[in-house]
C-alpha cells in the first residue's frame, strides 16, 4: 500500500511520544474490525459499498458519490420551527453486531437500499502498527457511515406535508471501542480507559482489517460541485434578510437589492441567536468576513458614488451610521429613525422627499444609498487629513542592491520589468493616465534616493548614510509622474544594475528603508505603497537590526510562540508611523536562509501589505513567478489611508478584528492601505437580546483615498436574521466563513499560547458546536451516530486541515520563516483564499476532455485519488504542482512536455498541452498571488511538498487524516453528550 510506504517509512512520521501524540494516538494501534449498521436492518452491501473494497489508490472516478442534501433549495425554508432528523443507530456494546433500531428512531420506512451506504469497514490502523507497541492501550475502531440524505428524500415523499427545515447529513458511526487517546488534547482525555478495554474480547485477535470507505464521509469537492450545480451561473439577489449566499467556489452573479454582495461581506451564520446564552450554548462564532474593496466581475455594476455636495454624507446624529436602506422614514418623510440606534433624526431640507403609501420614499430607486447594500459617498474635507484634499498616492520602489541581489540578477530583472510595468499603473476608470506618483530608492547599508525630475538631463543620486534618524533628502523630483519623467526614469533604471555591478556589500538595513518611505510620504503629504525587495536579514548597524533567533528547540514547547512574535521596539513604532501616514508596505523577500520573517513582516502585516517570499531565488525558475506577483501587486485595486468602522444595530456589536490592520482603539480599524484581496474578519458579541422581528443589521463603512487621490466612503450594509432556535442558526451557517474565522483566531492565538492549547481549543470548539447541534437540533439518536448539520458537514475536514497547516503543526522540519509567513498571510485572507488554502484543488488532467471549455472537476485531496498512470494539477492559492504518476503514459508526457526534461512547462502545439496551460493560466489569473508551478514525479523527493497539501491524508509533519479526525471529534462529541 503506497500510503503505508509513504507515511510510515520516513522517520519524521514518528512524532515523539507526548508531543505529536494526538496524531499518533489516533492512528496507533491495530484496529479491531468491528461493524455495525445503520438504518435498522442489516442489508446487503449496496453498490457504492463496493468502493470500500477497492484497493486503496484506485480511482474514484467510478464511484457514485453519496448524494447530499443540498439538492433542496434552502431558500424554501419558511420557518425554522423544527427540523426533522431521523437516525437509526445502533449503540452497541463492544463489537456486537448487529443491533436493532432503537425505538426512538423516527424513520418509519425502510431506507432504500442504494442510498444507504451501509458499510462495514475497519480502519486499518495497522498501517501504523509500528507504534502500537509503544502505546499503552489498543484502539479499535469501527465506523459505520451512512448517509441519510436520500433517506430524507424518501421521507419527504412519504410525508409531503412535512416541512423539511433542515437537511442533514447524518453519519452514524458505530464506535464500539474506546479510542485510546493519550491526553494530547490538553489532558481532556485522562488516558486509556482501561475499563472499556476490558470489554474487548478478542481485541487483539486481529480480525480482518478493512478500511473505511473515504467516499462515505462528507466530501468537500462534492459539496462544491453540488452548489455549483445549483447556483452556478444564477443571479443572486440580495433582497432577503438573512439569506445564505452560494459558496465562494461557485460562479454566480450578484444583484444588489439592499444587502451587500457576499463578495464584500460573508458571515459565519446568517441567523444570529437571539440571546447571548444561546450563542454561548452553541459556541458557533458570530463573525463577518469583510473584503471592502473586493473586485466585482465585469457583469456586475460597480458601486455608485453618491455625492451630497458640501454637506457630505447624511448620518445619524447619535451613532453616526450612514444613510442606508434600513433607515425608517417617518413623519411624512421629514424625519427618519436610525435602525442602528433608534435615534430619530431630522431629514435635511435638501434631502427631503415624500413617502409613498408603503412608507417608502418616492426617490427610493433613484438613490443608491436607499436601495443598495453597497455604495460610495464622495467624502468632504471633514473626512480628510488636516481638512485638506489628499494628494494622489505614490508608489516607491525600494531595491536592495547588496551583493546577493546583484549576483542573482534580481536587480536587473526588477529594473527591466519596471520599465514596462510603470506604464500600467492603476488608474481611475476613464482616466487617461495614472495619477500615481513613483519614486525610487536603492539601498544596502545606506540608502540612495534618486531625483528623477523631468527637467533633469540625467537622474541624480542622493546617498543617505544616517540610518539612525532617517530622513528624505529631497522633496522635489523624488516622487514624480511616470509619464512626465519617463526618459529620466528609464535612464535611471538602465543605470542601476550597472552602477552596483561590482558591489561587495553583504549587509543591509531594513527599518530605515521603511522609515524613509514614511518620511517621503510625509514630506509629499500623500499616502502610498512601498515595494521593498530584500534578500537578507538586516544585520547592518542601524535601528531595526535583527539577529538570528531561530531556535528549533523551542518547537513544541511553551515558548514556541516567541518564534511567531515580532521583536519589539523599532518595528512597533514603525507600524504606527506607517499607519498614520497611510504608508503600506509590500515586502518581496528572496532569502537563502532564516531572516526573521516574523519581525520583518510585522510592518507589512499591519499596514495592509503583503509579504512575498521566494526561497533560494533563481532567475530561471522563479523569475517569472516573482514578476507575476509584482505585476499583480502593482496593478491591483487598492485604497489608501483607510479607516473602517463596523456599526451594528443594538443588541450586539463588533468586538474583535482580524486582518492586516492596526487598531489604536477598540472600534476603528486603521489600514494604511486596503486592496481588493484583503479581508478583515470581524467577530460579534451580544450586548443584549436581539429580536427575531427586527433582525440584526451590520453597516461597515470604509473611509479611504482612492487611486486618483479622491477621498471616498464605501458603505456596505447587511441584514441578518435572528432566531431563538438554534436549528435556524445551524441551518444558515457557512463553513467557509467559519473556517476563515477559526484560522485567523487560531493564528492570532498562537502568539500568546502554546500551540498545544490552541489545537485543543479548536477541537473542543468543533466538538462543542457539533454536540450542541446534536443535542438541540437533531432528533434523538443513538450516541454512536455522528450527526453533522448540513451546512457544516465538511467543517471537520477544514478544521483538520487547519490544524495541519504549518503554523499550527509543531514540527522542526518546517522552516520558522515559512510558518510565520503563512500565519501572517492567512490573517489578511478572505473566505475564498482560506477555503482554497485549507482545501486545495486536485484536478486530474490525464483523462479530461480537451475540447471542453471547462476545467475538469477537482477530486478529493487524498492520495487515494491519485493514480499511477495519471497526471494531476494541485493548487492551493500559493503553490501549484503538476504531479506525474509513475505509470503515466509516455504519450501523455510527450504531449505536454515534448522534451525529456520535466522542469518547465513548454508551449507545445497540441490540444492537450493547450488545455493544460489554459487551465493553469486561468487559475493563476483568479488567485491573488502568482503560484510557482512545480512539476513533481511520483516517488521523487519533491513529492513531499505535494503530499503536504493532500489534506485528507495524514499530515507529513503530524496531524490526523480526515477519517481519524472525524472519529476523534465524534468521540469528543459523545463525551460532551454524556
Amino acid at each position: 500500500m503506497s500510503q503505508q510506504g509513504y507515511v510510515a517509512a520516513p522517520p519524521y512520521s514518528q512524532a515523539p511520544p507526548g508531543m505529536g501524540g494526538y496524531q499518533v494516538g489516533y492512528a496507533a494501534g491495530p484496529a479491531q474490525p468491528l461493524y455495525g449498521h445503520l438504518g435498522g436492518a442489516p442489508h446487503p452491501f449496496s453498490a457504492p459499498a463496493a468502493g470500500v473494497m477497492k484497493p486503496p489508490g484506485s480511482t474514484a472516478a467510478g464511484m457514485v458519490p453519496p448524494p447530499v442534501s443540498s439538492q433542496y433549495n434552502p431558500n424554501y425554508q419558511q420557518n425554522g420551527s423544527h427540523q426533522q432528523s431521523l437516525f437509526c443507530t445502533n449503540t452497541v456494546s463492544h463489537g456486537q453486531p448487529p443491533h436493532a433500531l432503537p425505538s426512538s428512531v423516527a424513520s418509519p420506512g425502510p431506507p432504500p437500499t442504494q442510498q444507504l451506504t451501509n458499510q462495514m469497514s475497519a480502519m486499518n490502523l495497522g498501517n501504523y502498527g509500528k507504534h502500537a507497541n509503544n502505546l499503552a492501550c489498543v484502539c479499535n475502531k469501527t465506523f459505520f457511515l451512512i448517509f441519510f440524505t436520500e433517506l430524507q428524500n424518501k421521507m419527504l415523499s412519504l410525508f409531503t406535508s412535512f416541512v423539511v427545515t433542515m437537511l442533514i447529513s447524518v453519519m452514524n458511526i458505530f464506535n464500539s471501542s474506546c479510542l485510546a487517546l493519550p491526553g494530547q488534547f490538553g489532558g481532556m482525555m485522562p488516558g486509556p480507559q482501561a475499563g472499556m478495554q476490558g470489554g474487548f474480547p478478542g481485541a487483539m485477535a486481529g480480525p480482518p482489517q478493512k478500511k473505511l470507505d473515504p467516499d462515505a464521509i462528507p466530501s468537500t469537492t462534492q459539496v462544491i460541485e453540488d452548489d455549483k450545480a445549483k447556483n452556478g451561473g444564477q443571479v443572486y439577489c440580495t433582497n432577503i434578510r438573512g439569506q445564505v449566499p452560494p459558496l465562494v467556489t461557485t460562479d454566480f452573479t450578484v444583484q444588489d437589492q439592499g444587502n451587500a454582495s457576499p463578495r464584500f461581506i460573508r458571515c459565519t451564520t446568517y441567523t444570529l441567536p437571539c440571546t447571548a446564552e444561546l450563542a454561548k450554548q452553541c459556541q458557533v462564532p458570530l463573525a463577518a468576513v469583510v473584503k471592502p474593496l473586493a473586485n466585482l466581475p465585469k457583469n456586475e455594476a460597480p458601486l455608485y458614488a453618491v455625492n451630497h455636495g458640501e454637506t457630505g454624507p447624511i448620518r445619524c446624529n447619535r451613532c453616526k451610521a450612514y444613510m442606508c436602506p434600513y433607515m425608517q422614514f417617518i413623519d411624512g418623510g421629514r424625519r427618519y429613525q436610525c435602525t442602528f440606534c433608534n435615534c430619530v433624526n431630522e431629514v435635511p431640507v435638501f434631502y427631503f422627499q415624500h413617502l409613498d403609501h408603503m412608507g417608502r420614499r418616492v426617490d427610493f430607486y433613484e438613490r443608491p444609498e436607499l436601495s443598495l447594500g453597497s455604495y460610495e459617498f464622495v467624502a468632504t474635507l471633514d473626512y480628510c487629513k488636516n481638512n485638506k484634499p489628499p494628494n494622489p498616492p505614490a508608489f516607491i520602489f525600494m531595491i536592495d542592491v547588496s551583493y546577493n541581489n546583484i549576483k542573482s540578477g534580481l536587480v536587473k530583472l526588477i529594473c527591466d520589468e519596471l520599465k514596462t510595468l510603470l506604464e500600467k499603473l492603476p488608474r481611475e476608470e476613464g482616466a487617461d493616465c495614472s495619477a500615481v506618483k513613483v519614486g525610487f530608492v536603492t539601498y544596502d547599508k545606506v540608502l540612495h534616493f534618486y531625483n528623477v525630475k523631468s527637467a533633469l538631463a540625467q537622474p541624480q543620486m542622493m546617498v543617505v548614510s544616517d540610518t539612525t534618524e532617517m530622513f528624505v533628502p529631497l522633496l522635489d523630483g523624488f516622487l514624480v509622474s511616470y509619464q512626465d519623467s519617463k526618459p529620466v526614469i528609464c535612464n535611471l533604471l538602465d543605470q542601476i544594475p550597472t552602477m552596483f555591478a561590482d558591489t561587495a556589500e553583504s549587509e543591509t538595513v531594513f527599518a530605515p528603508v521603511i522609515q524613509a518611505g514614511v518620511e517621503a510620504f510625509k514630506a509629499a503629504e500623500c499616502s502610498g505603497k512601498l515595494f521593498i525587495f530584500q534578500s537578507l536579514m538586516p544585520t547592518a548597524e542601524a535601528p531595526g537590526k535583527l539577529k538570528n533567533r531561530d531556535d528549533k528547540k523551542l518547537v513544541n514547547t511553551d515558548k514556541e510562540k516567541t518564534l511567531f512574535q515580532p521583536q519589539k521596539g523599532v518595528y512597533e513604532q514603525l507600524c504606527k508611523d506607517c499607519v498614520v501616514q497611510g504608508c503600506c508596505v509590500d515586502l518581496f523577500l528572496f532569502p537563502n536562509q532564516y531572516l526573521d520573517l516574523a519581525t520583518m513582516a510585522d510592518v507589512p502585516s499591519h499596514t495592509g501589505g503583503s509579504v512575498y517570499k521566494y526561497n533560494n531565488f533563481q532567475m530561471e525558475t522563479d523569475g517569472e513567478h516573482f514578476l507575476a506577483d509584482l505585476r499583480k501587486s502593482v496593478q491591483k485595486h487598492i485604497g489608501f489611508d483607510a479607516i473602517m468602522r463596523v456599526r451594528t444595530s443594538t443588541g450586539f456589536r463588533a468586538t474583535d478584528f482580524f486582518g492586516a490592520i492596526h487598531m489604536n482603539n477598540t472600534t476603528d480599524v486603521e489600514m494604511a492601505a486596503v486592496d481588493c484581496d484583503k479581508a478583515v474578519t470581524v467577530e460579534f458579541k451580544h450586548d443584549d437580546a436581539l429580536s427575531e422581528e427586527s433582525g440584526a443589521l451590520i453597516q461597515c463603512a470604509l473611509l479611504y483615498t482612492n487611486i486618483s487621490g479622491q477621498r471616498r466612503l464605501r458603505v456596505h450594509n447587511l441584514s441578518l436574521n435572528c432566531s431563538s432556535q438554534l436549528s435556524e442558526l445551524y441551518k444558515s451557517c457557512e463553513t467557509d466563513s467559519l473556517i476563515n474565522f477559526f484560522a485567523k483566531s487560531a493564528y492570532r492565538a498562537i502568539l500568546n499560547q502554546p500551540l498545544k492549547n490552541v489545537r485543543e481549543i479548536l477541537v473542543n470548539q468543533t466538538a462543542h458546536m457539533l454536540a450542541c447541534y446534536r443535542k438541540n437540533c437533531a432528533s434523538p439518536s443513538a450516541a454512536s451516530q455522528l450527526i453533522l448539520p448540513d451546512a457544516m458537514k465538511v467543517f471537520p475536514v477544514y478544521m483538520n486541515s487547519l490544524m495541519k497547516t504549518a503554523p499550527l503543526v509543531g514540527s522542526t522540519e518546517l522552516s520558522t520563516d515559512d510558518r510565520a509567513h503563512q500565519r501572517l498571510a492567512v490573517m489578511a485572507m478572505g473566505v475564498e483564499d482560506t477555503q482554497l488554502l485549507l482545501y486545495p484543488r486536485l484536478i486530474p488532467l490525464h483523462n479530461m476532455d480537451v475540447d471542453s471549455e471547462v476545467a475538469p472537476a477537482p477530486v478529493r485531496c487524498s492520495e487515494e485519488r491519485l493514480t499511477d498512470s495519471g497526471l494531476f494539477l494541485l493548487e492551493n492559492g500559493h503553490s501549484m504542482f503538476l504531479w506525474i504518476g509513475q505509470a503515466a503514459s509516455p504519450d501523455l508526457i510527450q504531449g505536454i512536455f515534448n522534451l525529456p526534461s520535466l522542469s518547465t512547462l513548454p508551449d507545445v502545439d497540441n490540444p492537450l498541452s493547450k488545455k493544460v496551460r489554459a487551465i493553469i493560466r486561468d487559475l493563476q489569473n483568479k488567485r491573488p498571488n502568482s503560484m510557482k508551478l512545480q512539476i513533481v514525479r511520483q516517488k521523487d523527493k519533491p513529492e513531499m511538498l505535494f503530499r503536504q497539501l493532500l489534506v485528507e491524508d495524514k499530515g507529513l509533519h503530524g496531524g490526523a487524516s480526515y477519517v481519524d479526525f472525524l472519529c476523534y471529534v465524534h468521540r469528543e462529541i459523545r463525551q460532551l453528550l454524556t
Binding site: 541624480q460 546617498v463 544616517d466 529631497l474 522635489d476 535612464n491
Partner: protein
C-alpha cells in the same frame, strides 16, 4: 646713524618687523614702567621679491631644547668650523657640507643682509592644494546665479592639480561626488543633527576608501563640476510665510571639516563657506526660523537674551579648533542684508587664518572682486596664500614670550622662552597659522625678564629669531627664518634714547590689538578704561610738564601722535559696538587683528584726502573742519572708501558743469579722487565698500561718523561759520579729549 624713522622702515622692509620699542629697557621693572610692552608686529610672509630662497636645509643648534637656526648674529670660528648659538651659547660644529666656508666664502645665512632668509626643504610628499566649496543654496535666485558664476569662474583660477570638492546645503547637507558619469551622486546628511564622532568615523572610512569620490583634481573634473554648479538649484524645500529658510550651516561645516580631517590631515586646504543668511537649524544654529524673532543684537547680548549665542559659539569654536589641528583653514563669504551669524562663526576663520568677507549680496562687485582677490598671484605667478604655517619664536635669555594676537592658534609648546605672563594667545612659543597671506601680521608680546640688579653689560644686544615653516602655494615646504637684534638700554640713564626709539604707530596698533583682544573676551567699557589708563600712564612717564599744570604738558615728537591714535581707536568700531551689529563688530575685529601695520593704522585712524582747485590733493586732518564746500574728500577707512563732494561741488555737479567743455578742469577734479579710489580698490583685500556721496547725502554719514567732531551743534557758533561742517553728535572732540588727558597726566593724584 640714520634716524629711527629710517631704521624702522628699513627693518620693516627687510624683516617685516615693527617693534614698539627699538631700544629695550634692560630690566623687568623698567620695562613695565614703559607702559607699552616690548612687542612687535611681525609679518611672517612679507613679500620679498628680492630674496631668493635657498635650496637647502637650515643648520640648527644641536642643543635639544634650543634648535635655533644659524644666523648672522652667531659667532663663527671659520678655522675650527664651529659656530656658537647666540641664544644658548652652545658651540656647534658645521655640518660636512659646510666644509668649504671661510671668511670670504660665507653661506648666505651668515650675511647680515640675510637676517631674513628662506629655505626650501624636502619634507614629505608634496600634496596639491585643496579647495572645498561649501555653498548655501537658500539664496535668492539672483544671488545664487551670481554665486554660481563666481564659483565657476574660480575654477579657472585654481592651479590645475588642485583638488576641489563641493558641499551644498540648505535644509539638508549634500556632499557631491565629482567624477561620476551618467548620474550625479551626492551624499546627504540631515541638517539638524551633528554627526557623532562615530558617524564621522564611518564617513571617514568611506572617504578614505574612495578619497577620490569627493575631492578631485580640477583638471579632471572641470567639466563635471562646471555642470554640477550650473545645475545647482535653490533649496527645494518650501519656506512658509513668516519663516526663514532652514539653513544647516553648522552641519555642512562639520561635514566639510570631517571630510578633510579624514582624508587629508595636515595638508594645505581651504574650506570656503558661502552663506546668504544665518544658520537656522541644527548645531550652530544662530536664530530660529521664525521671522518674528529677530537675530540677536548687541542689546540682546548685553541683556543675556541671545539664546543660541553660547551654544553656537561653542560649536563653532570646537569646529575651528578641530580644523586648525588638521591645518585646514575656513573662509567665510557672507553676503546678506541682515546678519548671518558671523559673531558665532568668526572663530572658524580667526582660528584657522581664513578670510571673512561680508557683503550685501553675491551679486555685487564687492563680492566678485574680493573673491577673485583670494586667488591673486604674486610676481612669480604663485598664489598669495600659504598653508600650514608654524611660527616659532626663540629669544635671548633676557626675554620671554608672552603671547601673540593674530590669526593663529597656540601649539602649546612650553619651553624656556615662554613667559608665565600671558598676553594674547600665550603660554607657548609656537603658533599655528593654517593659512597665511603676505600681509598676515601677528602682534607678538614679549617680556623682559632680566632682573634690575643683574645689569646687562653696556652695548649688549638682545636677539629674537622667528622661524616660520609653511607650505608654499606651489606646494613646496619652506622655512623662513628672521633673526633680529636690538640694543639693551638702561632706562634710568638712557630714557631719552628709549623714548626716541618709540615707534608710536606700531605701539598704537599693538595696544589696539590688546584692546580688541580684551574686548572680545571682556566688557567694552572696561577696555576703554584700561586703554585710557595706559595712555595716561604713558603720558605721565614721557610727557614734560609741571605738576598740576595742564598747559605745561608737552610730548616729544616720537609720542606726539599716539594720543590721537588712541582717541580714534576709542571711537572705532573695534571697541565701540554702538551702531554696529554683532556681525559687523566681529568682521571689523577679524580684519583688524590680521592686517599689517599700515592697514591697521588706516583702520584706527582713517585717511582723509582733500581735492580742490587750489592745489594738488593733500591729506587733511580727519576733522569736521576739513569738510568744506569746495572740496572733494576721499576717505579710506579700510572697509569703506568714501568720496564726498562738498556742498558747492555737489551743486556744480548737479548743474552738469562737468559735461561742459569749458569746465574740463572740473571734470578732472571729479575724476581725480575716483582714480585714486580705483587704485585702492584694486589692491585692497577685502574690497572696501565704495561710497560716492555728497554734502547732505544719506551716505555722508560714513564720513561724518569718522571725523573728529571739532564742530558740533554745541560749539558751532564759538568756532565760526566759514570753515568746516558741524557734526550732530554728543561725542567728545579730540580737543576735549586732549584737555582731559593733559589734566589727568599732570595730576599727581591720578
Amino acid at each position: 646713524m640714520t634716524t629711527y624713522q629710517e631704521f624702522i622702515q628699513q627693518n620693516e622692509d627687510r624683516d617685516g618687523v615693527r617693534f614698539s620699542w627699538n631700544l629695550w629697557p634692560s630690566s623687568r621693572l623698567e620695562a613695565t614702567r614703559l607702559v607699552v610692552p616690548v612687542s612687535c608686529l611681525f609679518t611672517p610672509l612679507k613679500e620679498r621679491p628680492d630674496l631668493p630662497p635657498v635650496q637647502y636645509e637650515p643648520v640648527l643648534c644641536s642643543r635639544a631644547n634650543c634648535k635655533a637656526v644659524l644666523n648672522p648674529l652667531c659667532q663663527v670660528d671659520f678655522r675650527a668650523k664651529v659656530w656658537a648659538c647666540n641664544f644658548c651659547f652652545q658651540r656647534n660644529p658645521f655640518p660636512p657640507s659646510y666644509a668649504g666656508i671661510s671668511e670670504v666664502n660665507q653661506p648666505a645665512e651668515l650675511m647680515p643682509q640675510f637676517s631674513t632668509i628662506e629655505y626650501i626643504v624636502q619634507r614629505g610628499p608634496q600634496t596639491p592644494l585643496i579647495f572645498l566649496y561649501v555653498v548655501d543654496t537658500c539664496l535668492e535666485e539672483e544671488d545664487l546665479q551670481a554665486l554660481k558664476g563666481s564659483l565657476q569662474m574660480s575654477l579657472s583660477l585654481l592651479p590645475p592639480n588642485a583638488l576641489v570638492g563641493l558641499i551644498t546645503f540648505g535644509r539638508m547637507v549634500q556632499v557631491h561626488e565629482l567624477s561620476c558619469e551618467g548620474i550625479a551622486k551626492s551624499y546627504v546628511f540631515r541638517g539638524t543633527k551633528d554627526l557623532t564622532s562615530k558617524q564621522i568615523q564611518v564617513g571617514r572610512r568611506e572617504a578614505t576608501r574612495h578619497p577620490s569620490l569627493f575631492l578631485q583634481p580640477i583638471h579632471r573634473v572641470d567639466m563635471n563640476l562646471t555642470d554640477l554648479l550650473g545645475e545647482l538649484q535653490r533649496d527645494p524645500w518650501p519656506v512658509p510665510q513668516g519663516k526663514r529658510p532652514l539653513r544647516s550651516t553648522g552641519v555642512a561645516l562639520s561635514v566639510a571639516v570631517g571630510l578633510l580631517e579624514g582624508t587629508f590631515p595636515n595638508t594645505g586646504a581651504r574650506v570656503m563657506l558661502f552663506v546668504g543668511g544665518p544658520p537656522t537649524q541644527g548645531p550652530g544654529m544662530v536664530v530660529g526660523d521664525e521671522l518674528k524673532i529677530p537675530i540677536r543684537s548687541w542689546h540682546d547680548i548685553q541683556k543675556d537674551n541671545a539664546r543660541h549665542l553660547k551654544k553656537a559659539t561653542k560649536f563653532y569654536e570646537a569646529l575651528g579648533n578641530r580644523s586648525a589641528a588638521n591645518g585646514h583653514s575656513i573662509d567665510i563669504y557672507a553676503c546678506a542684508l541682515d546678519q548671518t551669524g558671523l559673531l558665532e562663526m568668526k572663530c572658524l576663520s580667526n582660528l584657522t587664518g581664513g578670510h571673512i568677507v561680508m557683503g550685501d549680496s553675491f551679486n555685487t562687485s564687492l563680492f566678485t572682486q574680493t573673491f577673485q582677490g583670494v586667488f591673486s598671484k604674486d610676481h612669480n605667478g604663485d598664489f598669495r596664500m600659504a598653508f600650514g604655517g608654524v611660527l616659532e619664536i626663540k629669544t635671548s635669555r633676557e626675554l620671554k614670550v608672552c603671547g601673540a594676537i593674530g590669526p593663529c592658534v597656540s601649539l602649546n609648546s612650553k619651553g624656556p622662552y615662554v613667559s608665565e605672563n600671558e598676553m594674547g594667545i600665550g603660554g607657548t612659543n609656537q603658533w599655528k597659522m593654517c593659512s597665511l597671506t603676505p600681509s598676515s601680521t601677528l602682534g607678538i608680546y614679549l617680556e623682559v625678564v632680566n632682573q634690575h640688579n643683574a645689569p646687562i653689560p653696556q652695548g649688549g644686544r638682545g636677539a629674537i629669531q622667528f622661524v616660520t615653516q609653511y607650505q608654499h602655494s606651489n606646494t613646496q615646504k619652506r622655512i623662513r627664518v628672521t633673526t633680529i637684534t636690538r640694543n639693551w638700554a638702561d632706562a634710568q640713564s638712557q630714557i631719552q634714547h628709549i623714548e626716541s626709539s618709540f615707534d608710536q604707530e606700531a605701539a598704537a596698533v599693538l595696544m589696539a590689538r590688546l584692546g580688541v583682544f580684551r574686548a572680545e573676551s571682556e566688557e567694552g567699557p572696561d577696555v576703554l578704561r584700561w586703554l585710557d589708563r595706559q595712555l595716561i600712564r604713558l603720558c605721565q612717564k614721557f610727557g614734560q610738564y609741571n605738576k598740576e599744570d595742564p598747559t605745561s604738558f608737552r610730548l616729544s615728537e616720537s609720542l606726539s601722535l599716539y594720543p590721537q591714535f588712541m582717541f580714534h581707536l576709542r571711537r572705532s568700531p573695534f571697541l565701540q559696538v554702538f551702531n554696529n551689529s554683532p556681525d559687523e563688530s566681529s568682521y571689523y575685529r577679524h580684519h583688524f587683528t590680521r592686517q599689517d601695520l599700515t592697514q591697521s593704522l588706516i583702520m584706527i585712524q582713517p585717511i582723509l584726502y582733500s581735492y580742490s582747485f587750489h592745489g594738488p590733493p593733500e591729506p587733511v586732518l580727519l576733522d569736521s573742519s576739513s569738510i568744506l564746500p569746495d572740496r572733494i574728500l576721499l576717505m579710506d577707512t579700510f572697509f569703506q572708501l568714501v568720496i564726498y563732494n562738498g556742498e558747492t561741488i555737489a551743486q556744480w555737479q548737479k548743474a552738469g558743469y562737468q559735461e561742459m567743455p569749458e569746465y574740463q578742469n572740473f571734470k578732472q577734479l571729479l575724476k581725480a579722487p575716483q582714480d585714486d579710489a580705483n587704485d585702492i580698490l584694486e589692491t585692497r583685500f577685502p574690497m572696501p565698500r565704495y561710497i560716492n556721496t555728497e554734502h547732505g547725502g544719506s551716505q555722508a554719514r560714513f564720513l561724518l561718523s569718522k571725523v573728529n567732531p571739532s564742530q558740533t551743534h554745541n560749539n558751532l557758533y564759538a568756532w565760526g561759520q566759514e570753515s568746516g561742517a558741524p557734526i550732530l553728535t554728543d561725542d567728545v572732540s579730540l580737543q576735549v579729549f586732549m584737555d582731559h588727558l593733559k589734566k589727568l597726566a599732570v595730576s599727581s593724584s591720578a
